[in-house]
């Protein structure tokens, strides 16, 4: 019995240059397909969808092409009495979409659209006795929500509203034998979760608690011969995991441990030359989610046609500069 390496092969005719104009057109047109079946099915995450679209447009210097008025009106309508924000109208509030809304309004430098004090109260109310955060009033616990909570509050300049020490304790209790993190104590490491936890520790100034050499090794071992990165051992490579792994490596100061040019080739090969946008893997259907993480990944790899992205918040660096946020990055 031998282990087969799961991977893809890049075709020789795969795209190898960055098709910026096509991607901007793809995102600009995406929001106009409101009567599309697929679009309607993704209503449950609309607020995050808007954040992905706006962030990637901002990174490409095209934010002005999006309908700011329509978006801010929509966000205002999605804030609930409790202070939380929902993915769309008629849906229930959740930390995930509360963060997305705050990120969008930070891009627009217009936080007055929502009641910020109520957002702070909402986030605060979701912290549990053990320091963890529930995603909403139904109590699902996950380190992703710990990240959402501190990222939201940091963008609002209100990190001191919660018990940060307890929150840190909980996240550290999710650290595993491989140096990575899972969603709860004892859960297996996963690149998405590692991104959330290293991001969390960066925002709270606790990165010295990470075993950076061990975790960095696990992360750089995610790179497959195709150049793409997977999210866990023995899984296929994916553009979104490439971002999560890459951003985590950047946060812990080990981004040079992967082969940057091979990763760049993989990400470029995931572009759709006809429609614009990026897919999870070469030849698959594109979507705004992978389009953001494709562009953001290329930015971290140093592509100068794209604005510099912050690895912790996945937002343009200039936006964070304006807010005065400097999350910790290891050297």
């Amino acid at each position: 019995m031998g282990t087969q390496v799961k991977d893809v092969v890049l075709k020789p005719d795969a795209p190898n240059t960055l098709l910026l104009d096509k991607h901007a057109d793809y995102i600009a047109a995406y929001g106009s397909k409101k009567d599309d079946y697929e679009y309607t099915l993704s209503e449950y995450l609309r607020m995050s969808g808007i954040y992905w679209g706006l962030t990637v447009m901002d990174l490409m210097g095209q934010l002005h092409r999006m309908n700011r008025e329509e978006i801010t009106t929509f966000i205002r309508a999605c804030q609930h009495e409790c202070g939380g924000v929902s993915a769309s109208i008629g849906h229930d509030p959740h930390l995930l979409y509360t963060l997305s809304a705050v990120q969008i309004l930070s891009l627009y430098n217009d936080l007055s659209v929502i009641d910020v004090n109520k957002v702070v109260e909402y986030v605060k109310g979701l912290q549990q006795e053990d320091g963890s955060f529930a995603g909403d009033k139904w109590g699902e616990i996950d380190t992703r929500f710990s990240f959402c909570a501190v990222a939201t509050l940091a963008l609002l300049g209100k990190l001191d509203a919660i018990n940060v020490d307890r929150a840190v304790e909980f996240v550290l209790s999710c650290m595993n034998f491989d140096g990575g993190f899972g969603c709860r104590p004892g859960s297996e490491s996963h690149a998405g979760q590692i991104y959330c936890c290293t991001g969390f520790l960066s925002i709270t100034g606790q990165l010295h608690q990470v075993n950076a050499d061990l975790l960095g090794w696990w992360l750089c071992e995610r790179q497959l011969p195709s150049g793409g990165l997977n999210g866990r051992p023995e899984k296929l490579p994916d553009v979104c995991y490439s971002w999560w792994v890459l951003a985590s490596l950047k946060i812990i100061g080990r981004i040079h441990w992967i082969d940057k040019s091979k990763l760049r080739s993989f990400i470029l090969a995931c572009q759709d030359e006809e429609t614009g946008g990026f897919a999870d893997r070469p030849g698959d259907m594109v979507d705004p989610f992978h389009t953001l993480f494709g562009i953001a990944g290329l930015s971290l790899l140093g592509d100068e046609q794209i604005k510099a992205v912050n690895p912790v918040f996945c937002m343009p660096e200039d936006v964070l500069q304006r807010i005065g946020l400097h999350p910790e990055i290891l050297n």
Binding site: T3, T40, D92, S173, W257
Partner: protein, 552 residues
């Protein structure tokens, strides 16, 4: 959004698909709107359960609908008899099983399943632990046997190894641990006897399939050392400048750990600063004593640093006529860079090394095997195996070139550890490591007492902020590297000579950190791009007035 292959289709096919989608959209929207309006009206009936079920079957990530279902189920609890409620929940579980089969990654379904289980009074169905994101299990001996079986049937299962790593410290904790072990503590320490059994199990796994990375990851964990105890590892005091330096075994924020300094029986109020302003947490902290506290060399002084939160302290005596003094545990005392196995058991590691060497003969290109051999050699005898270790690193960079920077950094770390050990055995304050292809500097907190350092002829790009921990440094030789930045040459009070020949320093502003080193008299910048700058001599005379011996 994942794994949907883009298919080429004809215009006619497109048209048909479009029609079909329009139809689906209509049905979907009607069901959604019906759900939303029922909920708005406060309806909690069976029909609403059916409607949400229809929508969730195709779209289990629609979290709000799960919330609505929970509201309905809670309502049903109040209006139905207990057996009926039990039945409703059991039906809910079988519905969920269907959802999870179609979409095993849906967070919403897993969370709802957990919620339903918590509402059922009787025992619930068998847990499927395969989905790691949802597994909340009781840790028992049976569990460990369960992973034994899983690993036995499929060695390449990372989840099983992970799960094992969480169970082992619970079932076979190291005897001397005072606190009851829990998966939430960092110390994953395991008793030695069980550790030896684990070596055997994992060795079987990688002999069966030498490319199974899961087993190798686990093996590296087993070889790892226990976390160092939190302690004060060194107190250093200098009469000149009346400075006191404290080193900790791990980075701390000295401003918040309750540090108390007592000099000759008197508590002193001092301001602690980390070695570099970039660090809020640092292993090295510095303070200046009030003028006159220890400046009189005709007197002996006794200093004690108390770490009040931990009930730890360390004393340091500064004798008459001495200019400096320190009290510390050396790297050799602490066995910093070796395995935490007892000496008798190192024979086991020796036989592990033999097995891996055999495997390498069969699989000469297997990087996992080479790396593990390196780690075993380090656990056994880091200095004795130095030459072999270096050769193995060359192999690793060759067979796994994508990660060559990782191997270079790891090799640098090991060489630095070895040099620290050699320095400790020789009881000198000179650290010399030139021509070893170093790409990174680490363990700099261990070099607190070093006065001379030679790191010439390496591949270093920077002297990082951590370099400022070398508080006793007088002479720095770092020729023939590719150094661009000198952040770490920061407030080094005794630094006199700096040689940076043939590096990549290109701007005068890169030299700015040196302005904080008051004793600097000799600076050699020959062979750097900065030497091409116009008026360099006069600019530097202004920037670094203490330098009398400038070589450009």
């Amino acid at each position: 959004m994942h794994g949907r292959v883009k298919l080429k289709s004809t215009a006619q096919q497109e048209e048909e698909k479009k029609k079909e989608r329009e139809k689906k959209l209509k049905v979907y929207k009607a069901a959604r709107d019906a759900c939303f309006s029922k909920r708005k009206e406060g309806t909690m009936d069976v029909e609403a359960l059916q409607l949400t079920q229809q929508l969730l079957s195709s779209n289990p990530d629609f979290a709000t609908l799960w919330n609505y279902r929970r509201e309905i189920l809670l309502h049903q609890e109040t209006v139905r008899a207990e057996e009926e409620v039990q039945k409703v929940y059991e039906e809910e579980l079988s519905f969920l099983e269907g959802c999870l089969k179609v979409n095993p990654k849906s967070y919403g379904s897993w969370h709802h399943r957990g919620w339903v289980s918590s509402r059922i009074p009787g025992p619930t169905g068998a847990e499927s632990w395969a989905c790691a994101t949802a597994a909340w299990r009781w840790t028992t001996e049976t569990e460990l046997q369960f992973t034994d079986r899983l690993i036995g049937s499929n060695f390449s299962n990372y989840s099983s190894w992970h799960y094992r790593s969480t169970l082992l410290p619970l079932l076979h904790p190291q005897a001397h641990e005072r606190d009851p072990p829990s998966p939430s503590t960092h110390s994953h320490s395991v008793c030695e006897e069980q550790l030896l059994k684990e070596y055997e199990l994992v060795q079987n796994a990688f002999f069966t399939d030498p490319n199974d990375q899961s087993a190798w990851f686990y093996y590296r964990w087993l070889l790892g050392r226990a976390e160092r105890e939190e302690m004060i590892s060194c107190v250093y005091v200098s009469r000149e400048g009346e400075r006191l330096i404290v080193a900790f075994s791990r980075p701390v924020n000295a401003l918040s750990v309750g540090l108390l300094l007592v000099v000759d029986g008197q508590p002193l109020n001092v301001d602690w600063r980390s070695a570099h302003p970039r660090f809020r947490h640092s292993p090295v902290w510095i303070c200046e004593l009030p003028p006159g506290t220890i400046s009189d060399s005709s007197n002996e002084h006794n200093l004690t640093v108390h770490w009040t939160q931990r009930h730890i302290h360390r004393d340091c005596a500064l004798y008459t006529g001495r200019s400096e003094s320190w009290c510390r545990d050396s790297a050799t005392d602490q066995e910093l860079f070796r395995s935490d196995l007892s000496v008798e058991k190192t024979s086991v590691l020796q036989s592990e090394l033999q097995s891996c060497t055999q495997l390498l003969e069969l699989e000469p290109q297997n990087k996992w095997c080479v790396l593990t051999i390196v780690l075993l050699m380090r656990a056994l005898d880091p200095l004795g195996y130095e030459r072999e270790t270096l050769a193995h690193f060359e192999t690793l960079k060759d067979v796994d070139s994508m990660r060559s920077s990782y191997y270079s950094d790891l090799c640098s770390k090991f060489m630095i550890e070895n040099t620290i050990l050699k320095m400790e055995y020789a009881e000198v304050r000179v650290f010399s490591l030139s021509g070893k292809k170093l790409t990174t500097l680490c363990h700099l907190d261990q070099l607190l007492l070093v006065t001379h350092i030679n790191i010439s002829s390496n591949q270093l790009q920077t002297l990082p902020p951590q370099f400022a921990m070398l508080q006793c440094l007088e002479v720095l030789e770092a020729d023939d590297n590719v150094i661009e930045s000198l952040y770490g040459l920061y407030h080094l009070p005794r630094l006199e000579e700096v040689s940076l020949k043939n590096n990549q320093i290109s701007r005068i502003s890169d030299l700015k950190p040196l302005t904080t080193c008051p004793k600097l008299t000799r600076l050699d910048l020959r062979g750097n791009p900065v030497t091409q700058t116009a008026n360099l001599q006069s600019e530097l005379a202004q920037l670094l007035p203490s330098v009398t011996d400038l070589l450009l």
